[in-house]
């Protein structure tokens, strides 16, 4: 085949080699086309079964004007039939096919080179031999080995789809009913959650406006619980547990206010709720104790009690699993008042639930109760306990309490407030640390930080070759010097 027995014989042999090579190439193209048709057909079958499955799934819900089984079969057949002609009409790139063939055979571009040499010989020495070798190689190798195993990646999923279609037809189900039931169940919990969130928000506003720390925390917990319930991020059981906790705290708060109100002794400037919270914490509270300023209730008392009742109702609904609209009794957007006890007489504004130690905004208002230690910040005038922090201070931070000797506490009858007697200096004392910012001097950026920025910018410029090479060392040394003595940078 190499043409070594004479020029005429060589031409014939080489002609045979070329013909053989081209025959093998055409055979390979036919195989490739068949593989492509099988691939496209299997893909068409798979994608045709998907609408069939859809039709079978919907057959239990809607009355279809055609047979779901027939539709599935037709769709699958149409998909498979559409894929095959598309593959048959597609042009096969022979050059690309032979490059892939060389890769799969490891023949180092022998076949693709020979294919090119058939039409455009390169030199006279090796062209014929290359064609000859390529023809022999392709004769030795089966098309399946050259093209690789036929892979139909979607075909294994087709039986699964057929099975699903059969199941959907054998066991029809109504999607509408399924979605409706689920929607109803979800809607009830979500509505309760929205109610709780709404109460929590309003109570937060109220507590924040009066700087009531414990009430604010309670309201925030309530709002968070409601939000999570409305979003569906927690289950009903967990919501019930958390709601029970909120309820317990709420009840305690409610009782506290009730007792505080019943203890009387209203005082202008009001420390009533502070006294009440003292009681819950079991502190003696000094002589002022519970009697310290229970002011009168405001006209908004009914709203506050209504809020508490509403929350109780919501909890009840949550437990019972019944959805209901938010209870009436107050207009939307009207903030409730946590600071006011139920059925309490009108009070002065500024009253609160928290003791002075927890309620920073109340510091310095009125006279502090006896038995308190230094109620002022460490940097405030020690002779003026309770002096407010300077303007611009971000707030007060309580320091660890120091307990004095126990005072005598008298327990009255049922419904009567505790009475504690103590001499000055006894009882709880609370210290506060005032955190305040200095006056703004007009400087926006420290000098050393600005200097570092300059140095970084120069380093970056050095890296980007923006500084001439001969000046690089000069620039580096300049910033090294001013970096050491940063105060000279401005020179």
């Amino acid at each position: 085949m190499s043409g070594r027995t004479g020029a005429g014989r060589g031409r014939t042999t080489q002609g045979t080699a070329r013909a053989e090579l081209m025959a093998r190439v055409h055979g390979l193209v036919r195989h490739a086309r068949r593989d492509l048709a099988a691939r496209r057909g299997s893909e068409g079958l798979f994608f045709g079964l998907i609408p069939g499955l859809l039709a079978a799934a919907l057959a239990g819900t809607f009355s279809l004007p055609f047979s779901a089984l027939g539709f599935a079969g037709c769709a699958a057949a149409a998909g498979a039939c559409a894929g095959i002609p598309i593959a048959l009409l597609r042009r096969i790139d022979v050059r690309r096919l032979l490059i892939d063939a060389d890769r799969s055979l490891g023949s180092r571009e022998l076949a693709s080179t020979a294919f090119e040499l058939v039409d455009a010989p390169w030199g006279e020495t090796f062209s014929d031999a290359v064609i000859d070798e390529a023809a022999a190689l392709m004769t030795r190798s089966s098309p399946r080995r050259i093209l690789g195993a036929l892979r139909l990646p979607l075909l294994p999923f087709a039986p699964a789809l057929v099975l699903l279609i059969a199941l959907a037809l054998i066991f029809p189900f109504n999607l509408r009913g399924l979605f409706a039931a689920r929607h109803a169940g979800m809607g009830e919990l979500a509505m309760i959650g929205e109610d709780l969130q709404s109460y929590g928000q309003r109570l937060q506003d109220s507590a924040r406006s009066q700087n009531l720390g414990r009430s604010l925390a309670l309201a925030q917990d309530l709002a968070k619980l409601g939000r999570e319930l409305a979003e569906g991020s927690i289950q009903k059981d967990e919501a019930l547990d958390r709601m029970a906790d909120v309820e317990r705290r709420l009840t305690a708060e409610y009782d506290l206010r009730l007792r505080a109100f019943n203890s009387g002794d209203p005082r202008p400037g009001g420390r009533g709720q502070a006294g009440a919270e003292d009681q819950t914490e079991g502190s003696a509270g000094g002589r002022g104790g519970l009697r310290d300023g229970f002011d009168s209730s405001s006209p908004g008392d009914d709203r506050g009690s209504q809020d508490l009742k509403d929350m109780g109702d919501a909890l009840k609904r949550l437990r019972q699993g019944q959805g209901a609209s938010p209870p009436s009794g107050r207009e939307q957007g009207e903030p409730p008042s946590m600071a006011q006890g139920p059925q309490a007489p009108p009070r002065q504004p500024g009253s609160g639930l928290l003791p002075p130690g927890n309620d920073s905004s109340e510091k310095g208002q009125g006279s502090p109760p006896q038995g308190y230690g230094s109620g002022a910040a460490p940097d405030s005038d020690p002779g003026q306990p309770g002096k407010k922090a300077p303007s611009g201070s971000p707030g007060l931070m309580p320091a660890p309490d120091t307990k004095g000797p126990p005072s005598r506490i008298e327990q009255g009858g049922r419904g009567s407030p505790l009475k504690a007697e103590a001499s000055p200096g006894q009882g709880d004392s609370t210290k506060f640390l005032v955190r305040a910012l200095p006056e703004w001097s007009g400087s926006r950026l420290p000098e050393d930080k600005q200097l570092r920025r300059y140095a970084q910018a120069v380093e970056s410029a050095l890296t980007r070759e923006e500084v001439p090479p001969r000046l690089k060392e000069y620039v580096k040394s300049y910033f090294t010097i001013i970096g050491v003595s940063g105060g000279d940078a401005r020179h």
Binding site: G3, R108, E109, S112, E116, G123, T125, F126, D128, T463
Partner: protein, 339 residues
């Protein structure tokens, strides 16, 4: 001989050359093959490595196994161009005249320099001044030497094998880019392993060494050079070599990220030329009659490393041309979809 026999003969001849050189040179089989690729492609090689790695020995061995004229030029700062290419000298001849007396005839004759050889070893080429280095330019590119308006053709084969030391910068003159580009390959020599050092010591410290045999003459070299150029290469393989060369140029659409960031200049058209020719020779050395992608990849580093110039950022970050070439080789696809 038919094509297969020619191919087998080339493979056998090259193997014999490697075997004979291997008697004197321990290890470095790849380096020897690269030098032979340059020889049979008609290119010149620049060998770079620290002192003592056997650069000069390798080239001297090549001169011994080839039955062709070799010369060695030790480049020094005071070497002049005329010391390389030759010069016109004034000759005075005295002949007995027909009558009484002596006729004196003076004429100018060109005295050939060491460049008139088949294999020229330019040892430590970066020690000579640029003026002297450039004296080799015409010889390397055109294979001719012009002196005093007369052009002299050099013998074929003609190959310049230059060495340079990369660590000594004092008193050296780095080769200009134009001259670097004229080298077909830049071959980097690395340190030998412990076993190789042991073998080197055994060979050089025990007894006299047997001289190397002449394996190949100038005619055989010329025949192989012709055969190399006959090796077919598919269009897509040639296209791959071209795309590799283009990808080393910053600013082109196919340039890789590493090239765009660290390269100042990429390969000139001589780069893909070298890739294609060396890939053909490499295929023939392996006994194959066509060149493929693997052949192009195998000669990528040698053919392109001296044609990629790093920018300031690349040099500052210690990037090497080899890293860029490896990146290009990895990222440039062998084939691209047409249309």
């Amino acid at each position: 001989m038919d094509a297969r026999e020619k191919s087998a003969w080339v493979k056998q001849s090259v193997f014999a050359l490697k075997q004979e050189i291997g008697r004197a040179i321990v290890g470095n089989e790849a380096i020897v093959e690269d030098v032979l690729l340059c020889l049979f492609c008609g290119g010149h090689a620049l060998l770079e490595g620290v002192p003592g790695l056997g650069k000069t020995t390798l080239i001297k061995c090549l001169g011994q196994v080839l039955d062709i004229a070799t010369s060695r030029i030790q480049f020094t700062p005071d070497l002049m161009p005329a010391d390389i290419i030759g010069t016109n000298v004034l000759i005075q001849e005295e002949t007995q005249a027909a009558g009484a007396g002596v006729d004196t005839r003076r004429f100018v004759r060109f005295q050939k320099g060491p460049v008139f050889a088949n294999v020229v070893l330019a040892d430590e080429i970066n020690r000579a001044t640029p003026k002297t280095q450039s004296a080799l330019l015409e010889a390397m590119q055109e294979q001719t030497v012009t002196v005093g308006g007369t052009t002299y053709a050099l013998d074929s084969p003609f190959i310049v094998l230059a060495t340079q030391n990369p660590i000594e910068m004092e008193g050296t003159y780095p080769l200009p880019e134009a001259q670097l580009d004229r080298f077909f390959f830049k071959i980097a020599l690395g340190y030998p392993s412990a076993e190789e050092i042991s073998a080197i010591i055994d060979r050089t410290t025990a007894g006299a060494q047997r001289p190397l045999k002449k394996i190949m003459d100038a005619d055989a070299i010329a025949r192989i050079k012709e055969l190399v150029r006959e090796v077919p290469m598919a269009a897509h393989v040639k296209d791959y070599a071209i795309r590799l060369g283009l990808a080393t140029r910053p600013g082109t659409p196919t340039a890789t990220e590493l090239v765009s960031r660290y390269a100042r200049y990429g390969a000139s058209p001589r780069g893909p030329q070298s890739l294609v020719l060396a890939a053909r020779a490499k295929a023939l050395f392996d006994g194959r009659m066509n060149a493929g992608f693997e052949d192009v990849k195998a000669v990528c580093r040698q053919a392109l490393r001296h044609r990629i110039l790093l920018n300031f950022e690349g040099e500052a970050e210690g990037i090497t041309p080899e890293q860029i070439i490896d990146d290009v080789r990895e990222r440039v696809p062998e084939t691209i979809e047409q249309g």
